[in-house]
């Protein structure tokens, strides 16, 4: 989970794209995934994201993301299967719980859609430094700095939380609490008591951070920007390529 949203430093052609291009890529593919209801199209998008991860040299880190998405997707699929009794019965998972052809088609589509829609978003975050994302939002999209900063900071806090969670888990483990369990119900029972220290420490963290912002002139007036981010020919080509996914998704629909 913690690698899902964290920037991985690199210097590939894709890393050097304008952050806006990457943002467009994430949003457009995500939207296309919801328009297109075709297994092959979604699979194609998924494959496309894997190619991008490979081309930018972060396949190793991205593999963890795909694995997490796959597991999540599998749960979603199973759930959907159980609640779609329409169609021709193919086989029974449990006595009295049939799997139908419509159910299978529908639930696998759901799984693919979930994976194909989230993969580009997480890829975008892994390939764009937060600061550049911030610049793209404020300068190109004209989002007020205050709000753009809030969004980016919220994104940044997710891996920080998960790191903190790991730390608390380790602390509990060293005190003899059993935390490693595959049983999801037990896991929840283990996690709940940790939420309170996590909550307290994060409230304190947010407070210190707010103070740190205040004492460094956050939003006290006009703001300068260190990096100028330009569009290159490669950006334009990439945007055209990504935009093409939209009409395709509508045609295949």
């Amino acid at each position: 989970m913690k690698q899902m949203l964290e920037y991985v430093h690199g210097n590939s052609l894709i890393h050097r794209l304008n952050p806006l291009t990457k943002l467009i890529f994430a949003v457009v593919t995500c939207v296309a995934c919801f328009i297109g209801s075709n297994h092959l199209f979604l699979l194609g998008i998924l494959l496309f994201t894997i190619i991008i991860a490979g081309a930018s040299g972060i396949l190793g880190r991205a593999a963890g993301v795909y694995k997490a998405l796959f597991i999540l997707g599998l749960f979603l699929m199973l759930f959907q299967l159980l609640f779609t009794p329409q169609g021709r019965i193919l086989f029974y998972i449990l006595p009295g719980v049939p799997v139908t052809d419509i159910g299978l088609g529908f639930s696998s589509l759901l799984m693919l859609r979930m994976m194909a829609a989230l993969a580009p978003l997480s890829l975008m975050l892994m390939l764009t430094p937060m600061n550049e994302l911030l610049t793209a939002m404020t300068h190109n999209l004209k989002v007020p700095y205050r709000y753009a900063f809030a969004v980016v900071t919220a994104l940044r806090f997710i891996p920080a939380f998960s790191r903190e969670m790991d730390q608390i888990m380790q602390a509990q483990r060293s005190r003899g609490h059993e935390t490693d369990t595959r049983n999801p119900i037990k896991k929840i029972r283990v996690i709940i008591p940790m939420c309170i220290p996590l909550l307290i420490s994060s409230v304190r963290k947010v407070e210190t951070m707010a103070i740190s912002l205040e004492t460094r002139g956050f939003c006290t007036g006009p703001r300068s920007c260190r990096k100028k981010l330009g569009f290159t020919l490669f950006d334009i080509l990439a945007i055209i390529l990504v935009m093409a996914a939209l009409p395709v998704s509508i045609i295949i629909g």
Binding site: M130, K205, M209, I211, E214, T215, T220, G221, R223, C225
Partner: protein, 293 residues
């Protein structure tokens, strides 16, 4: 530059005064160390200089604090940030960016400094804090000590008139702590930046600070030139502050009537004292005046 006029403060939902009856004046270009046991109110005192109290932490505020001629109650944290740079106790949560260089540029961008100058100041701050090699690192992946250096670099890049630092070397090794103090001394001497630092390592304070404040239970109980404060090593020891060994040594020499001068503040001076005694020609240090409240 900074003036406390009979200042007392208690945090809201706490009936005890965190600091009480503070009267002090800190002039331009001073290098002040603050020391005292946990809960003595050191961080509270610093928070009154950068305006975090009363603008962020609310409570009962008595007296007045003047920073660069402005009453902090009437100013804002944002306005004061143009004069006062701050480094807080917890290095982790005061970092607001994901990459080291962005963290240091953050304040500069907020102050609307042009891009070219940001680059120059960024490079200088990285060099002064000794973290040039960390420039492109992710802030989340740094060690505690490295994070502390980043927060110091971010503060010095702003070139404030006043720099307040709350235990900025707590997670650094002895060598790293020394480097930080050396950097601060350089800032103090070259740019005339007034430095106020809370620190537990008394040896470093005694060597680098020109003035020492000792706090206990919300009060400043001693305030004066470092040398004179250190003479009260019995009192300091009662507070759990271990005096530098050279001070203890000098005390022993004094008790044995071998030495009647002032206290040395670093090893070189101590050496002079001991050599002086051995050669029987001790030239004495002047004892500056000390105020004890």
């Amino acid at each position: 530059m900074i003036r406390f006029n009979d200042v007392s403060f208690s945090y809201e939902n706490s009936d005890e005064m965190a600091v009480r009856n503070i009267n002090a004046h800190i002039g331009r270009g001073e290098f002040v160390g603050i020391i005292g046991p946990s809960g003595a109110g050191k961080s509270t005192l610093l928070s009154m200089i950068n305006g975090v109290i009363p603008h962020f932490y609310k409570g009962d505020f008595y007296g007045e604090v003047l920073v660069c001629g402005r009453d902090t109650v009437e100013s804002t944290c944002g306005k004061l940030s143009h004069h006062v740079g701050s480094v807080f106790q917890d290095p982790e949560s005061q970092i607001v960016s994901t990459v080291v260089e962005d963290e240091i540029a953050f304040g500069l961008e907020n102050f609307n400094i042009p891009a070219g100058e940001i680059e120059a100041r960024l490079a200088e701050a990285l060099r002064m804090a000794g973290i040039e090699h960390l420039r492109h690192e992710s802030t989340a992946a740094l060690s505690g000590g490295q994070k502390q250096r980043v927060t110091i670099a971010a503060a010095i890049a702003l070139r404030p008139e006043i720099l307040v630092l709350d235990e900025p070397t707590s997670q650094l090794d002895p060598r790293g702590s020394r480097q930080v103090f050396t950097t601060l001394r350089q800032l103090n001497r070259e740019y005339g930046i007034t430095i106020i630092i809370v620190e537990q390592k008394v040896m470093l304070l005694s060597e680098f600070c020109s003035r020492l404040m000792v706090m206990e239970k919300g009060r400043i109980i001693m305030d004066g030139p470092t040398r004179s404060v250190l003479e009260h090593n019995d009192r300091l020891l009662e507070l759990g502050i271990n005096c530098p060994r050279i001070v203890t040594l000098t005390k022993l020499l004094k008790n044995a009537s071998l030495w009647s001068g002032g206290y040395p503040v670093d090893v070189d001076e101590a050496e002079t004292v001991v050599r002086g005694i051995m050669e029987g020609t001790h030239d004495q240090y002047q004892e500056p005046e000390l105020s004890i409240q």
